[in-house]
């Protein structure tokens, strides 16, 4: 049976090869065609420009400021950053611009740059005079950026290299200590081995703990929403937007009509101009919800209720979420580990006096009256039970 299959394969190998190469060539052809069709066409009002590759490169340089746009203007890339960064930059990134203006009319681009309407834009783009040709080139470049996709965060591998290196050193030291004996002083071996062992264990423990944890997680959001500006500078109450925190398990992410309650009037941000706020309006118009990235994630087997903590427990948001009002880019302040939860459950007092529910703990009330204890910890009324959070 197997023999027959092998024979068959060999027999038809040539045919398969030819077919395969034909297919390959064909696909190349199609691919090339698509490229030809789409690339390098830019519209300016009624005119359509064909941008050759050479000009595209020129456009790139222009964007980076190697060829200056106009005399005073800095390079576009100075403000509109190209790559992924994990801090906030109020100016829209190149990719975001591309998202908005992809395959658009270069005339619009020209207007935005030369005669901006927003206050901020007016300030920063003041005095820009770019030509039609430059606008077309910029448009072409923006299209190219869009085609090359969203800039990704590059993975960091330093840790791994270090880890492997230390492993090798430790292993080599052990081998030398036991067999080869190249180094005379055993203390060297010992120091190396013990050092490596400590490092390896430490890294492993730390990394194991980190699995599934996201402390300091601060993803970029689809809109450059700054808690600092909203909650900090403008002193908006947390629960204005996260208004189900007191009553429901989830605090709720505001729907875009909540945003528009204010932003129907405030159409321009002090730092970001109109660009970011416009996203809300656009979402509303296009009927697309805004896909926020969840920052605080708990494992699926944990049941956390905001209502319990904010509503009944009267906790301040900051106790878990940190000083959100000082964060431009929201960051997970605490590790949200079980131990972290327990620390609180063990040390916090229950609001025994003001909540009628706790009247049922007569024993504790008596003790408080007598003065035997002055307060009741969450732990005392079962705050460390498994089924408080896991069920």
């Amino acid at each position: 049976m197997t023999k027959r299959i092998v024979e068959l394969i060999f027999k038809h190998f040539r045919l398969a090869y030819i077919l395969f190469s034909l297919l390959f060539a064909f696909s190349q052809l199609i691919h090339a065609e698509i490229n030809d069709n789409n690339n390098g066409l830019v519209q300016f009002s009624d005119t359509v420009y064909q941008i050759p590759d050479f000009d595209l490169k020129k456009a790139e340089r222009m964007y980076y400021g190697l060829i200056s746009l106009s005399e005073e203007a800095p390079a576009c890339a100075d403000c509109h950053y190209m790559n992924y960064i994990d801090t906030i930059n109020w100016n829209p990134s190149t990719y975001e611009i591309a998202l908005k203006y992809y395959k658009g009319d270069a005339k619009i681009l020209l207007d935005v740059i030369n005669t901006p309407r927003g206050k901020i834009l007016n300030e920063v783009h003041a005095g820009y005079e770019i030509s039609e040709e430059q606008a077309v080139l910029l448009q072409a470049y923006i299209d190219k950026r869009y085609d090359s996709g969203e800039p990704q965060k590059k993975p960091v591998i330093n840790n791994l290299i270090l880890f492997i290196l230390v492993n090798i050193i430790g292993f080599a030291a052990t081998i030398d200590l036991l067999f080869t004996r190249k180094i005379k002083f055993k203390i060297v071996h010992l120091i190396l081995i013990i050092g490596a062992a400590i490092f390896i264990t430490r890294t492993m423990v730390i990394e194991s703990i980190k699995i599934g944890r996201q402390q300091d997680y601060a993803p970029t959001q689809p809109i450059k929403f700054s808690h600092k500006i909203h909650a900090g500078d403008n002193k908006i109450d947390c629960q204005y937007c996260h208004h189900t925190a007191e009553t429901s398990k989830s605090a709720g992410i505001p729907s875009s009509n909540v945003c528009l309650n204010c932003h129907i009037l405030i159409v321009e941000g002090t730092k970001s101009g109109k660009f970011e706020i416009n996203k809300i309006t656009e979402a509303q118009l296009n009927n697309d919800p805004i896909e926020w990235v969840k920052v605080h994630n708990l494992p699926d087997h944990v049941f956390f209720s905001h209502a319990q903590h904010v509503g009944a427990g009267k906790l301040d948001c900051a106790e878990c979420h940190g000083v959100v009002e000082s964060m431009d880019l929201l960051r997970q302040e605490n590790d949200l580990s079980m131990g972290w939860c327990l620390d609180c459950h063990r040390t916090r007092k229950v609001d025994f006096k003001n909540n009628e529910y706790y009247a049922l703990f007569e024993k504790y009330h008596d003790k408080i009256k007598v003065g035997e204890i002055d307060s009741v910890m969450i732990e005392d009324i079962g705050g460390t039970d498994c089924m408080k959070c896991h069920y």
């Binding site: 990394e207 398990k249 509303q284 087997h301 009944a312 069920y391």
Partner: protein, 993 residues
């Protein structure tokens, strides 16, 4: 371990306001998105997998230096007022599938209906449910439902389908051939109005009501005797003696939820009652009702009439009525006669037979006993089961004659459940128009040309009138998941009516029902009714009946079947599957039959003596009449000389779950003048093989003399309150411990189960599956004793094998304060909470199963395989019922963890409900009231046998029950100190000698 959609933001992209048209397009796409793999394939990420492997692969984790998967939080664009993410809403609605009616509340969480609960406001069902009602939420997410209208199997738009149908209807109507609308009994006034419109539009159209399980005999008998073609209402709660002939009124007969509630009231001894009803059951196969009876007499179905006739003749003289000639019967009816006469006006005699003559005699007896007006109400009859078998028979005849041009099947499936299904299927081909309007895929819809899929009741508007003046509403809890349209809308469209059905209902209510109310305006009236789910008028029971005409009664006595030695076959309904309409529901298939404890099968029930004679044993295959081969199950209590086989199995096209499960037995209906009799004489029963395995959840049926279910008779009980439970005090005296017991400073949750009220209907079993995300494991796994139910109904037989006494006991985790399971867990995954709950932390469990071994009640369940797809290792899922399909996963309760492979799980006293209600109390700054918290099993129980509450509160109902002298704990001699108490079973029979 995965949990599905903790909050709405995580998944939901759209508002799903029931009925809002604006978002329709968006919505469809969003729903589709929900079922596409891309969204729910979140499964376990690589990182989770690494986490599972812990330290050993920690180094690989560094190597991967991978990011946590990005979880998106998508808020509403415009948040609907009534939906709070993470909080459940309850919508009042009604369940009616053509057979069962129940007023319900639908629990909707983040836009998904996830649980059905009973509506306590209803005076008919009173908050009770049964297994089928509980399971109905899962059929909403049945992946085999039709997803859009089709013509000849091709997907078409509604416009195209409508055009085609209207076109053909007109042609047929013009040609003078009949158009038949074949539906179940319609109990909806607005649907009736819609049908009337339809009939008006098409002159040749006729509406025939056909019930798969018919009550034709009762209808005909009432027509003959009292000129009222109705199925009366029964009041078991008024009865002091109930004599039932083959009517499984606690399980399947007419309105079991209502009857169970009434029956349980007559069996209650908790609220100071000192009397319980006496229940005598004559029946062939051991039914749920029969197994609860005080006295049960196994009879052949053909003997029923003779016994009734004798009974009548015995009673009649006492009331000065005429007697008639009847053959002798083997059973001495004198004692029953005395009892009936003694309790006259408080007695009730019923029969499940479809034989008019039998029902006439029953009516005559009831009339003599003065039951009308007390236990039977003819003036406020039940509105369902109005299908007359003769109509159906005539329909088949005209079909055969070619008089019928088109048939619209609305929710009916005669190709499967009518005895002459081949004839129907054959002759249907001659029709020009075959439309199926059905929620689920079935044999008839497969035979139809055009399919206009009906929306599920949870997606539909409707109104019902189960009894005159007892209105209830059905409202959609979710937008149609598929491109389905509710049948009434289809009918309206075909009738040329422009209105949507909801407006039609409103108009109808405004016109006909609103005037009867005292509401200030229609808007308030409508909103209140919708909020409550019901609108009820006070009914007056007049029920003055004239005596049964002598000539009619005489004619009922003119024919008696000759007793023969032939074996008789009885077709019965199972609690779970019924006529087979809901057979594709995995929860129902997996629900152990309360009598046989078998799942996923039907079989021949045969008496032990008969089996010995036929040389059959459980697991053999037998062939009946050389036609159908079915496995055999020896069933104690089955009448000798009979066999019984359940209906509802052997579905051919219904979806993956039911197809190929069991055998279809409808061809054994006995047809007499077009009336279906659910029994027949069979010519042969031969052994045809061995080695078939019937999956039963319980293999041993004797209590082995252990005091597991404690019993006494009512006489003993009245003499001594702790009769049958004397040992309880004795054991309590011996309870001493070296250690000081732990204190429960706040709550101490406890539960009691009144064994006298519990009928074993298993609604709790399905409710628990629904509430707690319990996996369905399938027949093979049950065969290997791997079933997962957290609550089970233990059933034991006592006494004579041919007619045993049956006792039942629901058993779930007893939440022992000295729990043996807790001691042995090496990782402390199970321990005791501050509130007395034996808590189980699934994510801590490593699966040694030691706790399960050490549990004397064997209530812990282990995830033997990856039943839920929550396991980190891929491609090892065992899921024969498709419960891990993304669609069916919508039914999962987001408040309960979905357990992964290799962990133990068990009853948690519905801790999610406890936590929720405690939180509500805290937020409302008040104390928790007794009765605030209802566990899922308690909520579902139609008999109110289960009571849950705080044992630390001396005023709570559960504390009172625990102080009842009837209370005992299961295996209390082990000093496990369970938090679950049982109240002894008190029966109304003479003490055995």
């Amino acid at each position: 371990m995965n949990k599905y959609w903790k909050s709405k933001e995580e998944k939901q992209t759209e508002t799903r306001v029931p009925g809002s048209q604006a978002n329709r397009d968006k919505e469809d796409s969003s729903l589709e998105m929900l079922f596409s793999d891309s969204i729910i394939s979140s499964g376990a990420t690589r990182r989770d997998f690494l986490k599972l492997f812990g330290f050993s692969i920690a180094s690989a984790a560094i190597a991967a230096s991978c990011e946590q998967p990005v979880r998106k939080a998508i808020p509403y664009l415009i948040k609907p007022e009534e939906i709070t993410p993470g909080k459940a809403n309850y919508y009042a609605s009604s369940y009616y599938d053509g057979n069962d009616y129940c007023s319900v509340l639908v629990k909707v969480r983040d836009g998904r209906p996830i649980k059905i609960e009973g509506n306590k406001l209803s005076s008919v069902t009173g908050g009770g449910t049964n297994a089928r009602v509980q399971a109905s939420v899962l059929s909403l997410y049945d992946e085999s439902r039709y997803k859009s209208p089709t013509i000849n199997g091709e997907i078409v738009s509604w416009e195209e389908a409508d055009k085609e149908i209207i076109n053909r209807l007109n042609i047929i109507s013009d040609s003078g051939k009949e158009i038949i609308l074949l539906s179940n009994t319609v109990i909806s006034p607005s649907t009736k109005a819609a049908i009337d419109l339809f009939l008006k539009k098409y002159q040749t159209a006729k509406h025939i009501q056909y019930d798969a399980i018919s009550a034709s005999g009762i209808l005909e008998a009432n027509k003959a005797t009292f000129s009222k073609e109705v199925v009366p209402s029964y009041f078991f709660d008024n009865a002091e003696i109930i004599v039932s002939f083959g009517a499984d009124f606690l399980g399947t007969w007419l309105s079991p939820v209502e009857f169970t509630k009434q029956y349980a009231q007559t069996r209650s001894l908790t609220e100071g009652q000192k009397r319980i009803s006496k229940h005598i059951q004559f029946e062939t196969n051991l039914s749920l009702t029969g197994s609860n009876a005080d006295e049960r007499i196994p009879i052949k179905p053909s003997e029923e009439k003779t016994i009734l006739a004798n009974l009548y003749n015995n009673i009649a003289p006492a009331f000065g009525a005429k007697t008639f000639k009847s053959p002798e019967c083997n059973y001495n009816t004198e004692v029953i006669t005395r009892e009936l006469i003694r309790h006259h006006a408080k007695a009730l005699v019923i029969s499940g037979s479809n034989d008019v003559q039998v029902q006439i005699i029953v009516n005559a007896i009831n009339e003599l006993l003065g039951s009308y007006g007390s236990t039977i109400d003819l003036d406020n009859p039940l509105q369902h089961k109005k299908g007359n078998d003769t109509d159906m028979h005539n329909f088949i005849e005209s079909l055969e004659n070619g008089n019928i041009g088109g048939v619209i099947f609305y929710g009916t499936n005669p190709v499967y459940d009518y005895p002459k299904s081949e004839i129907i299927e054959e002759n249907l081909k001659n029709c020009d128009l075959l439309v199926s309007v059905s929620t689920e895929k079935n044999e008839t819809s497969e035979a139809c040309i055009i399919n206009c899929p009906d929306s599920h009741y949870l997606e539909s508007w409707n109104d019902f009138e189960i009894k005159p003046g007892k209105y209830s509403l059905c409202q959609p809890a979710i937008r149609s998941i598929f491109n389905t349209r509710q049948a009434q809308d289809s009918l309206l469209k075909w009738s040329g009516e422009k209105k949507e059905y909801i407006d039609f209902i409103k108009a109808n209510w405004q016109k006909n029902i609103y005037p009867e109310s005292r509401a200030s305006d229609f808007f308030t009236f409508w909103n209140n009714s919708l909020h409550d789910g019901i609108f009820e008028l006070k009914s007056i029971n007049k029920s003055v009946v004239t005596s049964v005409p002598v000539n009619i009664l005489e004619s009922a006595f003119n024919f008696f079947e000759k007793s023969s030695d032939n074996i008789e076959i009885v077709l019965y309904e199972k609690m779970s599957i019924g006529s087979g309409k809901n057979a594709n529901n995995p929860w129902l298939q997996e629900m152990p039959d309360p009598v046989t404890t078998a799942v996923w099968d039907n079989y021949i029930c045969i008496s032990p003596r008969q089996a010995k004679e036929k040389n059959l044993k459980t697991g053999d295959l037998a062939i009946i009449n050389n036609r159908i081969t079915i496995p055999v199950l020896i069933q104690p209590g089955q009448a000798y000389g009979t066999i019984a086989v359940a209906l509802g199995y052997g579905r051919k096209s219904s979806g993956k779950v039911a197809e190929g499960v069991g055998q279809n037995i409808v061809s054994f209906y006995q047809m007499r003048n077009g009336v279906r009799f659910a029994y027949d004489t069979i010519s042969s029963l031969e052994k045809a093989g061995t080695g078939y395995q019937i999956a039963k959840t319980q293999l041993h049926h004797s209590m082995e003399g252990r005091a597991i279910i404690r019993e006494a008779t009512i006489e003993e009980y009245l003499k001594n309150n702790n009769a049958g439970n004397e040992i309880h005090k004795e054991i309590e005296k011996h309870h001493r411990s070296l250690y000081k017991e732990h204190e429960f400073s706040g709550h101490h949750w406890g539960m009691t189960i009144d064994l006298n009220k519990c009928t074993g209907c298993s609604a709790c079993v399905v409710a628990c599956m629904s509430e707690n995300n319990i996996p369905v494991v399938g027949k093979n796994e049950v065969l290997r004793a791997h079933e997962m139910h957290w609550i089970r109904i233990d059933r034991y037989y006592k006494g004579n094998e041919e007619n045993p006494q049956t006792v039942r006991q629901p058993v779930m985790c007893q939440h022992c304060d000295d729990a043996p399971c807790e001691n042995v867990c090496p990782v402390a995954a199970t321990n005791h909470s501050n509130e007395g709950i034996n808590q189980m932390a699934y994510n801590r469990c490593i699966g040694t199963r030691y706790c399960n071994n050490n549990c004397p009640y064997k209530v812990r369940r282990f995830n033997w395989f990856d039943y839920t797809k929550a396991d980190a290792i891929e491609n090892n899922t065992v899921d024969p019922a498709g419960m891990t399909l993304d669609l069916k996963r919508m039914v999962l309760n987001p408040d309960v963890t979905v357990r992964a492979k290799g962990v133990i799980e068990k009853c948690s006293f519905c801790v999610q409900r406890i936590q929720e209600k405690k939180l509500t109390a805290k937020l409302e700054n008040r104390q928790l009231n007794d009765g605030d918290i209802e566990t899922a099993c308690q909520q579902a129980c139609p008999a109110e046998a289960i009571v849950f509450g705080d044992m630390n509160d001396p005023e709570s109902k559960v504390s009172k029950h625990l102080k009842d002298p009837r209370n005992y704990h299961l295996l209390e001699e082990l000093h496990t100190l369970p938090s679950v108490g049982y109240l002894t079973r008190i029966s109304n029979r003479k003490k055995e000698t």
